[in-house]
């Protein structure tokens, strides 16, 4: 093995800028995707626990359909298959505004929304039935019960599994490179192509992902401590890749 290490490729010339751009795109992609996922997850997770069968089925259909197909396939669907079905004017607009980025955001958001829904659902089912009964007996409607009583408690219970999902989303944002989104892993490959220094580029990318994951874990540990409800803990579920 006669490989010459040259760590300066990481900051000399354009490569430093490429890495920074990659981090920025990864964070934007993950953040917008995360917001979509949380909204979809809270709504469909809550719907799955309602005593109204059609809404339950609708939410179950969404969750089971989206989370059982690989994210890579969803990337291709949102990028290659969906835009041609849209009106021509909207297609042109998308082409001018980074269609691959938005396809990546939607793929991440909708896929992880289905997975978040399961987390929310487990949080809601950890709340004692008596809470629902107490809310009903004080005259709250179902919508009010969820908004004022159930969801505020459920969201405080699910911080650990939600953190696992958030980390999975961040790591899965790397799959967007397959549709040409210039996120971190994409830029690592670019640097490898320009400089032929695969090892240095991969080490840099790996360390950046580890730092981002550690930062999110540390942040959520803070949040967990602050919002914990004494006597009610949901156990940390196994994170999925």
């Amino acid at each position: 093995m006669n490989y010459r290490f040259d760590w300066s490729v990481l900051w000399s010339g354009q490569t430093g800028a490429l890495l920074l751009q990659g981090i920025e795109t990864t964070l934007e992609l993950s953040l917008i995707g995360w917001l979509i996922a949380v909204v979809l997850g809270v709504v469909s997770g809550a719907l799955r626990t309602l005593p109204i069968p059609p809404l339950r089925w609708l939410a179950a259909g969404y969750v089971e359909f989206f989370r059982n197909v690989p994210l890579l396939v969803w990337m291709f669907v949102w990028y290659f298959a969906v835009p041609p079905l849209l009106p021509q004017a909207f297609q042109d607009f998308l082409l001018d505004h980074g269609v691959e980025f938005w396809a990546g955001v939607f793929a991440l958001g909708v896929y992880h929304g289905a997975r978040f829904a399961e987390v929310i659902r487990s949080g809601i089912s950890a709340i004692p039935r008596t809470q629902f009964e107490a809310a009903a007996s004080t005259g709250l409607t179902i919508a009010q019960t969820y908004r004022l009583v159930i969801l505020p408690v459920a969201l405080r219970l699910i911080v650990p599994p939600a953190t696992n999902e958030t980390l999975a989303l961040l790591k899965n944002s790397s799959i967007a490179l397959t549709i040409g989104v210039a996120e971190l892993t994409f830029q690592v490959r670019q640097i490898e192509t320009y400089t032929a220094k695969a090892f240095e580029a991969l080490v840099a990318g790996t360390i950046i992902y580890l730092i981002l994951c550690l930062a999110i874990s540390a942040l959520s540990a803070q949040i967990e401590r602050r919002v914990a409800i004494p006597g009610m803990i949901t156990k940390r579920t196994m994170g999925e890749a």
Partner: protein, 226 residues
């Protein structure tokens, strides 16, 4: 919408892409099945190491698990794609690269499943085994692991579902799995909606079917039934 493209290429998509017969040396199942088996062997070793009494061993296993759980799979695949040729001096076929990457990566997740399965075995079983004079290794092999395995089955099936979906990522280094097969057909026919919807349905049938099976096992293993 014209689904004839799916029927015309059905045997290529399913036999070569999904199962792995034929000249492309690809296949989703041909990658996923050995990967879960070998990953489980490595994962068991790492899970046991994490529970070992030797500090350095449990620490090393912990670092392994936390490292691979903090890095995207795509990154790990690229690692092996670039590093194996640099180490061996020759390039390996995509199949071997993808298999190595999946075994190493999934072992980190499987190790956690094995560990929590072992920790779910009641303490009294360990004490009883010690009292009958079994050595630690004998106790693991004859008493703890067989019981732990029962508890692990739902999580193992779930992890296999994750792995099956993850194998689609082998297509980024050119391995011809179901996803890559659909891409190949699409490059020729330009029918993305029909083709990607079709493979979505195939993945869905496998994943959903197995998740029902995992739920059935979980149901059987809950205390009120056993």
């Amino acid at each position: 919408m014209d689904f004839r493209v799916v029927f015309q290429n059905f045997s290529f998509l399913m036999l070569q892409g999904f199962v792995g017969f034929g000249g492309f040396a690809g296949g989703t199942l041909r990658l996923a099945l050995p990967a879960i088996a070998l990953g489980f062997v490595l994962g068991t070793a790492i899970g046991l190491a994490r529970l070992a009494r030797a500090r350095w061993l449990s620490l090393a296993a912990g670092v392994y698990v936390e490292f691979f759980r903090g890095v995207p799979l795509v990154m790990v695949i690229f690692w092996f794609w670039f590093i194996i040729p640099a180490l061996l001096g020759t390039s390996l076929p995509e199949y071997m690269v993808a298999l190595t990457a999946f075994v190493v990566f999934e072992a980190a997740y499987l190790a956690e499943i094995v560990r929590s399965g072992i920790q779910a075995v009641p303490r009294g079983q360990v004490e009883a085994a010690t009292a009958t004079g079994l050595k630690r290794a004998q106790m693991m092999r004859h008493v703890v692991l067989p019981q732990a395995l029962r508890h692990m089955i739902p999580a193992l099936v779930t992890q296999f579902i994750v792995l099956l979906k993850d194998t689609s990522l082998a297509s980024i280094i050119g391995y011809v799995d179901l996803t890559k097969a659909a891409q190949i057909v699409n490059n020729r026919e330009i029918r993305p909606f029909e083709l990607y919807l079709f493979i979505a349905v195939i993945y869905w049938l496998c994943s959903y079917g197995m998740s029902r099976y995992a739920r059935y096992w979980e149901h059987r293993l809950t205390p009120s039934h056993s």
